[in-house]
């Protein structure tokens, strides 16, 4: 019943590659909005998850799916922390523009 027997692994990988690239592009393209950057990071993580699941299914090995669970956990934690940081940042600077984030230096 495995989809991979019919669709194949490569399309999945290409989809995940494109998703990753879009996420990456999003990081640069939306230099003005921190929240969109967080979203882009979520998409990149998702593309990684997609890859893990693809190979898990392809090899009949569930370890990949377990890893996806952990990745999801970490991604959730990351977005929670990230949003908290954005929140604090906004509170202090009244802006979420990426170009204003120039305080990460000594």
């Amino acid at each position: 019943m495995n989809i991979l027997n019919t669709v194949g692994v490569a399309p999945y990988m290409i989809v995940s590659a494109l998703l990753f690239a879009i996420g990456l592009f999003g990081i640069f393209a939306s230099r003005k909005n921190l929240i969109v950057i967080l979203m882009s990071i979520e998409m990149m993580l998702l593309s990684a998850n997609l890859n893990l699941i693809t190979f898990s299914s392809a090899f009949g090995n569930l370890t990949g799916q377990v890893m996806v669970m952990f990745t999801l956990t970490v991604a959730a934690a990351e977005s929670a922390i990230g949003l908290a940081i954005v929140m604090v940042y906004y509170r202090n600077r009244h802006s979420v523009e990426v170009q204003d984030t120039t305080m990460m230096k000594g």
Binding site: I27, F28, R31, V98, T101, T102, M103, M104, K105, G106
Partner: protein
Amino acid sequence: MTPIASSLFAIAVFAPLGGFLIAGLLGRVIGDNFAKFISILGMIIAVACSWCVLGHLLNSNAGGVTVPLIDWIHAGNFNATWYLRMDMLSVSMLTMVTSVSLLVHIYSIGYMAHDSMPTYRFFAYLSLFTFSMLMLITSDNLIELFFGWEAVGLSSYLLIGYWYTRPSAVAAAIKAFVVNRIADLFFLVGICVLFILSGSVFYDDIFHKIPELAQTQYHLYGYSFQAYEFIALLLFIGAMGKSAQLFLHVWLPDAMEGPTPVSALIHAATMVTAGIFLMARMSPLVEFAPHVKMFIVIIGATTAFFAGTVALAQPDIKKSIAYSTCSQLGYMFVAVGVGAYQVALFHLTTHAFFKALLFLGAGSVIHALHDEQDMFKMGGLYKKLPATCLLMWIGCLALGGIFPFAGYWSKDAILEAAWMFGGSVGHYAWIMTAITAFLTAFYSWRLLFLVFHGKPRDQKIYDHAHESSLVMTLPMCVLATGATIGGIVLAPYYIGVHQVAFWGGAIFNAPSNQIMSLMHHTPYLIAKTPLVLGVLGIIVAFVCYIAVPKIPVAAASGLKGVYQFLLNAWYFDKLYDFIFVRPYLALSKVLWKVGDEEIVQGMPVSIARITNRSAKTVSWTQNGSFALYAFTMAIGLVVVLATFLIYH
């Protein structure tokens, strides 16, 4: 040799050092007078000890003895233990140096009395100077000798520049130091070559090896010459610097910037005689270098003549005497060159008496006239300074070589030796020194007549003149005694019938070198010529400066070129300024402006600038914008992936 004599010998050498250390280091604490007392006490001890040693040595007739002090340098096969060498050469020098130095110390109490600064420093330097010279003459190896040699240079630097607030004194001190360094370099190379050849720096080892190494030859541009010629030449150049021979004499007249007692010390005992001493000490080696001996004779004779002529025209009382020293040193080198080292040392000793006397006398005059040194502003001072006048007369009689004063014996001996040496070189030396004898008498009496006789030229200065105190005249009296009877008493020992027993092998004459006996057989006319010329010089001086004072004025204006030539000391200073100093300064300036400021200093500065700029550039990447950080990360990811793909 009894241990007591050795101990006394060591005490004589180190007592001045003690005086220097206490007076110099604690002078501020113990007070000026006490410091003076200490340094003079050190000198008194040294003099007493040295006379005891001299007496002992005369009685015991023992040869060279070394007094071990401490281990100094042991490096590989290089060995320089610190010994003191006690033979007649060092002991006679020791006695002379300590005695003269003591007198100068005592004299300085009076001379420096009106100095505005505390004078313990001056006395400490004097003691250091004496100690350096003693170290030099009592050395048992060349390294010790070189130590003393350099220490003498250092202390002369300190003393010439004693009045360090005067720019001219500082310049003179630097000049003396630098000129001596140039000569010392040759000397040092000579020591090195000698060590390479003989494997030792000890005199005894070197002298023992001389016969077997006499055949060693160096080759240069197709010429072969003996190694000993080369070494002797290097050593002689070193001696030329210290003893102010022609071409390296330029520091001596400038050294007159120091206080007058220092000049007395430099000229009589502690510095310029070092060169003569070195030649006498290395006589076993110099004897094997006939060509260098010729060279020494020529340099010595030329220097004697040169300095004699220059002394004629000097208006400055001290410079006139300074050139006279230069001239007399030329005499000594003539004696060295002809192989009559004993005669050189004899003249050295008598010269020490009368030259110290002359300088102290000049100091007395200068002191009396409140630092006026121009002879043409003096005159008629015999009424005001009778004692000084009398003592200066004695000094000039000795310098002029008038019988029976000390100079007569030693100077005549040199001329005889030069004549009997024969050959064109010997005769050249005889003619030059004979002319110089005339010049010597002339400029000496010129000095006397200008200063003490005739009419006062500057009434104001004349009125304020006063005779010096007893503390200044007494040392001069002692020296005057030496200048009067020194020759007649010492001649038999130094050069006469007792000379072989007296020196006890401390000075070496090659078997072929019979000058010491030959010189007593000089033709009568030749032997008496210098005396005649000396008297003639006195008469001419009398005519020129007392009887018809217009003659020198007319001569100076008529022969303006010659006068200027002599006044400027044959333009040596200008020549050196042109040849060495200015190119050197120009080069220094180039190196300073380009080498140092542009390159040496420029490198770190531009490195700093580059660092600064690149850091600024790089710090742009650390601008705190996390967008850029993310961007960089992404590029890194792409690059890593690309690398993986390419090399996979």
